[in-house]
């Protein structure tokens, strides 16, 4: 249980971070960017990506829009909102304090 929460929390953080670097990505590109930047270590589970995106969209952190791609198909791309930038800051500092705490625990042992 604790594992999923941690994963979910980090997934939000990773998505927000990716979108803050490169706005207007669609779902697959976000996933690919996370994999690329982490050197293929972190792989967002494809099944949980879209629910997470919809949740963040409903929370108002990101907004989505449909664009026409060169192939003629439509794609739904996401970008960060002002609230999302604030949320990203909060998530980052939360992550830092958590990882600091975990490191402290590991060193203690």
């Amino acid at each position: 249980m604790a594992k999923t929460v941690a994963l979910q929390g980090s997934l939000d953080l990773l998505v927000l971070k990716m979108l803050s670097r490169r706005p207007r990505l669609h779902g697959y590109a976000i996933m690919a960017a996370i994999a690329n930047t982490s050197g293929e270590v972190l792989r967002a589970e494809e099944g949980s990506l879209y629910p997470a995106l919809y949740r963040m969209e409903e929370a108002g952190w990101i907004r989505a829009e449909w664009i026409k791609k060169d192939t003629g198909r439509r794609a739904r791309i996401y970008e960060l909102t002002a609230a999302g930038k604030k949320q990203l800051g909060a998530e980052e500092s939360r992550w830092e304090s958590v990882s600091l705490a975990i490191n402290r625990v590991l060193r203690e042992a």
Binding site: H26, Y28, A29, E46, Y50, E57, E58, G60, R74, R76
Partner: protein, 885 residues
Amino acid sequence: MSVWSRISNAVRGGRLNREIEEELQAHIEEAIASGRDPDEARRTFGSILRQREAGHSIRVAGWLESLLADVRFGWRQLWLNRVTSAAAVLSLALGIGSCVAAFRLIDALLWRPLPISGASRLFVLSRKLIGPEGKPIEDRYWATPDFKLMRDAVKDQADLIAISEADRTDITLSTDDDMEKANVVYVSGNMFPLFGLEPALGRLLAPADDRGRSLAPYAVLSWDYWNHRFGRDPHILGRSLHIGDQTFEIIGVGPRDFTGTETGTVTDIFLPLSMNGLATQDNVTWHHTFLMLKPGVSPATALKPLRQHLSAVSRTFELECSTCLRGMTPASIDRYLNKKLVINPAGAGISDLQKDYRRSLGILGLLAALVLLIACVNVANMMTAQAAARSQEMALRISIGAGRRRLVQLILSQSALLALFASVLGAFFAAWSAPFVLSLINPPDNPARLALPADWRVLLFGFGLIILIVLILGLIPALRASAVRPVTALKGGEDPHSPRRLMRGAIALQIAFCVLVLFLSSLFVASFQRLENRPLGFSTDRLLLLETVAGKGQLPVVWNQTAEALRAVPGVNSVAISGWPLLGRIMINSDISINGAPPSPTSAFFLNVSPGWFSTMKIPLVSGRNFRPQDASPGAAIVNETFAKTFFPGQDPIGRTFERGANQPLNTIVGVTPDVPYHDLREPSRAVFYVPFDEIDDKSAPRAVGFVTFVLHTDARNPLALANSLRQLIAQRNNGLRVSNITTQLDLVRDQTIRERLIAMLAAFFAAVALLLAGIGLYAVLNYSVLQRRREIGIRMAIGSTRAGIVRIVTFEAFLMIALGGCAGVALGFGAARSVESLFYQVKATDADMIALPACAILLTTLVATLPAVLRALRTDPTEILRAE
């Protein structure tokens, strides 16, 4: 933003699903395009359907989506049975509309606070005493000197305000010479400031204007009068208006909403109390006295000591008043002084209209509510039947995991849909019917006027009503449906009789309400018919009445000459003069003293008439002779039969004499006429005497007369056709006479029955609707029960039951319920009738035909309503039924 998007997503659920699916597909295509193996990509992604469901539930408001689904489902159910649904909506709409309309009228007349500050602190003073006819009466009128004493006595706790009743007064405006009527009210100068009212123009009356007769000749117009008579002319200030011999200067216009304190009448002109000559008279009670508590004074504790204080002050005034008790017998003095001062809330204003229509409107409200209840029972029955038919569906829903709350929501949303449609229709009905009913209260001289705004009070009432209806309609079927036990229901139903038992109870209830409505209606309709067909004893045919005034009075000879001139007009058959018309607003009584004895306890009413009056009115003489032109008053008198019976029992009245009060000149009775109604169609015969129109004083000099009514018999069927030319003819004679009002005797008689006609008409309407609805309800329940029992009936027929036996099975229970409901309805009817007895005329609740009529109507309706079900039962084909099983 997000709540809104979730709500809007719920409304377009299908499109959302397509979008999510498109996005997910695009993801997989990207994956394949970036070089991944298609199968592997699909496998890692997982089930698209599950992903879509997960995404969907995040992006929509779930409660709303299920509600929408229920509403859609409810709509489909209603649409499936659209004929029954339409009937249900129509009957509910009629019920809701009637209830809301009744509420609007009752609220506007009785409950709505006046648009003043501190309406809740406003009270009115009146006195309860035993009237001259031995009945308890409430006297709401006060003498101004008494008012001033009381005002000064309690000025620390409360303010007293004097306001007269609106009086249709002849006024002349400076610019044109024509006389017109306006509602004039005299108020004490503290009224406007205490009510917290601000002028729309100029200034309002102030306490400083209470200075005395002719010292403050100022008039304030009401906004309504300024609007409709002067078109909101801003230059109205400073113009003058004339009433009798007084001239007033218009100094201001009142605030927009304020139309006076007399609910149902719109005041046109406010004048200072002290400008009325009556204000200095000790023995004339003529205006209302309102009491306004100071802010912060609690009514609960303050009113009792105030009442005692005021009562003591007023009693002292009356004991010391030298003119008040003059000429009264000891018995009547005792009665006069022995009265109780009462303080009643007056935040909604006070008026005769309230007094006259309080009970009538209450009854109409009751009838409307009963019709609504009957409609509700009908619709609830319909829904119970439908729910019973759906018990298998409900069982299935429960089996696959539907929560009980969800099932209740499913059924409640259907009844809410019904109520919603019905309330929209009902709102239109109420918007039309409330002003329509008000317009029926329309004495031509003074039609009732009430503001009927559709504001939050009405909305709140309507909203509460809808909630109530939804609960009545939906709750029982909803609870029944949710209590379904899946196992038994799927096996073929637990107790097939249980919905029928409920519906049978509903029939009894419905019939009880219906009988109550019919019973009350027949009482009101019979009252009206008897009043309308009451023998008058005089003719109303082609009689035109010219109410004519002469400012400072004119000698009888001038009036008689004018009558002669009117007689010469082509189309006029005969002309007579009376002091005032029969059945008009005026009634004047006089003490009667026989042979110099002190006045008798009962007084008699009188009328001055010219010699031709009896023949013009077609009132015959029972004995004696008519007046002659040389007769004068005092001198000759003609009395009615009740007068003769009361004052000369068992004797021939001709040639006997009476005096009008002790030590007055003698009147000799020269003739006797039959009784005719004098002032009120409903009252029992009063003792009435007629005296010649020509009056002389103690020195035998003719006495001037200020107002008379010319009674004209015309050739034309519509006497009003002559009205304008006669008005001009009188004005052209330049002898100071002016026509102040023109009406017909027929209209005066009709005005007497306005209230009765209104109640009878609406009660008959409600009775017809109630009967129709009850008939439909009965038909539906019986029909349903026959359908349900097809199997049983088929088996009974197969084993040899007779047709009579089948009919008995089908109808017995229904008739039992009808008998039960009918008895309950009549019992309720007796109770209700007792509380409104005062509205009946020569009709008693215990009259046999008053019960027989509703009973017959119900019986007939029952027969018609049961016939289709009985026929259907008899046509049941046992072989077919048994084969189907």
